[in-house]
């Protein structure tokens, strides 16, 4: 890792107040708790974890939809965590967020042309003719015919809506794109098409992706490095193949053991992890995974382990012993 990272996140936190029936604050939900990592230019970093682990909060905090409760985000050498929403506008064209369901994030009463043009009107000074030229070229690159400009969202299929959602982001020529669950709700054959498109666009626009997903097989296919989150923390981060080959954190191990593997062993015969993640507003003391962990020792209840290791880091006291 010789280049300067395009994005550096240091101790990023985002807390949400938990309110009781009278609207008074009765606790804190730590959706993101001191998360640190770096992303290199041109890389795809995968963020995986189960629902409620904070992966979407991470994406939204990076995109400026949530303001961080603590920590810093450095994007292209510039600290952006504490910027006001108005100042963030200057960063927005370079750092874009792709919504989970583009069908719902398109205005049903706007034609595709109007939806695609809006970011250009907001963020650039281009003349109408230049805007039109850019729309047409982007549309071509995401594989949609120009005639689709005059259609409305309901006239497109799910896969096509996703292409429009992507085109809308790419019109601004961003450097960094946060993809939040980009394939959830798609059929496998459509998913294959969309994933291929992501790759082609990454080449064409030299994009850096933050790829948030709960689908580990898709992440394995798409990402250079993967970070595993559990209850607001990164518990393990490593190059993709190494993570899948030799996971160190017990949670990563169970997560990998839960993926059905066609033609291989059956998870229903072997899967052992019991219980469900605890309420993030009432975290257990010490390591957060301890109550469900088969390898927990008394020391796990006392210390909250930090990430240890260089390229392959895990937040587990027994990480070295447990390497298989």
């Amino acid at each position: 890792m010789s280049d300067a990272p395009i994005l550096r996140v240091e101790g990023l936190s985002r807390y949400f107040p938990v309110r009781n029936a009278f609207g008074l604050k009765s606790g804190t939900l730590r959706a993101l708790d001191s998360v640190s990592f770096e992303v290199q230019p041109g890389e795809t970093l995968g963020i995986v974890g189960e629902s409620g682990c904070g992966k979407s909060t991470l994406g939204k905090t990076l995109a400026g939809i949530h303001r961080p409760s603590g920590g810093e985000i450095v994007f292209e050498g510039e600290p952006i965590g504490a910027l006001s929403p108005k100042e963030r506008r200057a960063v927005a064209p370079r750092l874009q967020y792709c919504h989970q369901d583009p069908g719902n994030s398109l205005d049903p009463r706007w034609s595709i042309r109007r939806s695609l043009e809006e970011p250009l009107i907001v963020h650039t000074d281009l003349a109408a003719a230049d805007r039109d030229a850019r729309l047409r070229s982007i549309l071509k690159q995401v594989g949609l015919p120009e005639t689709h400009l005059d259609l409305y969202p309901h006239e497109l299929s799910g896969g096509q809506q996703r292409r429009v959602g992507l085109a809308r982001i790419l019109t601004l020529h961003p450097r960094f794109v946060i993809l939040d669950e980009p394939t959830s709700g798609l059929d496998v054959s459509v998913q294959a098409t969309v994933l291929k498109l992501f790759r082609e666009l990454q080449q064409a626009f030299s994009l850096t992706y933050l790829f948030i997903s709960h689908d580990l097989s898709v992440v394995r296919m798409m990402c250079d490095r993967v970070a595993v989150m559990y209850l607001g923390r990164i518990v393990e981060i490593a190059p993709t193949e190494e993570l899948f080959r030799a996971p160190r954190h017990p949670y990563t191990k169970s997560l990998l053991a839960a993926i059905p593997e066609i033609g291989g062993r059956r998870v229903t015969d072997t899967f052992a992890l019991e219980g469900e993640p605890p309420d993030p507003a009432r975290l257990p003391a010490g390591c957060r995974f301890r109550p469900r962990c088969a390898f927990a020792i008394p020391a796990c209840a006392e210390t909250d382990p930090a990430l240890r290791g260089a390229a392959h880091a895990a937040a587990c006291l027994r990480a070295e012993e447990l390497v298989s």
């Binding site: 189960e50 629902s51 299929s157 059929d187 496998v188 054959s189 459509v190 998913q191 294959a192 098409t193 994933l195 291929k196 709960h214 580990l216 097989s217 898709v218 394995r220 296919m221 899948f244 169970s254 997560l255 053991a257 839960a258 993926i259 059905p260 593997e261 066609i262 033609g263 059956r266 998870v267 229903t268 899967f271 992890l273 019991e274 469900e276």
Partner: protein
Amino acid sequence: MRAPDDSLLKVDGLRVSFATERGTAKVLDGVNLSIRPGEIMGLVGESGCGKTTLARSILGILPSNARHEAGTIRFRNDDLLALPRSKVDRDIRGRLITFIPQDPFGSFNPLFPVGKQIMEVMKWKSPRREPGAWGGIGGFFAPYPRHRRRADREAALEMLRTVQIPQAEDAFDKLPHQFSGGQRQRLMIALALMPQPDLVIADEPTTALDVTIQAQILKLLKQLAKERGISVLFTTHDMGTAYEICDRVTVMYAGQEVETAPVDDFFRRPSHPYTVRLLESLPHPGRELREIGGEIPALVSPPSGCRFHPRCAYATSACSAQRPDISDVGAEHQVRCYHPATGALVA
């Protein structure tokens, strides 16, 4: 073909269409399916292929714009479509054939404790209820004798313990939102098994769950079905899930069933071109992604013959003229294609 008598449920040439604004959508086009006692049958396909419509046809809960055009659904010795509606309502649906929905939250009434809702089901569908017992005027005066209520409650608690709901007695008094998604799906499984059915129809029961919870639920469902000898019709769009839980798999495409095979044979030697392409489009390390060109056809004006032919690389004029008959390509491995693939897929 096997002797017709060894199946619990047999769907034969079922045609169902829906009246829509754009015309008549031919959603099921001569579908055949059979489920044997104690077998977990997977019904896989992409969205819009008709798997939910097929499941709903068997349950007899199609929406009012649906029309049954041809075919039979034989369950044990009765044709479900020919039986009087009241008989199906009272003694079959919810009693001998039960249902596990995709979204367990939407299926509980949020205002009542789950125990009350469980007992409501047991009042009508308990195995201890006499078949054909008088239901009163609209069910309003229906008796629920105390001895049966007590026995039903015991059985319900026992079932909650079986599906590993902690503190079953307390759980009876909790409201649905006090359970997590995985626990609600456990409650749904319990509810589906309480009437001691012969067949459970599970419509994408793990789609809304995380992978670790999905693995737990699949394990539980498989174990309970096998222990009790209950047949399951398991619809899913996820091939991995189908591999995990099913004994046999049927693939549907645009309202037609295209291939049926035992699960291992299905994944090792897929035979229909659609099945082959579908399996190839799964993300797999060390293999390039391959998409299926084209799009799923609109069911208002479906292609003639085999509905996959416009997207199929092997299609000939015969494919568009007439839908292929069922042919055997292996032990219990049937395919409806004029040009079945024979090469093995590297899974």
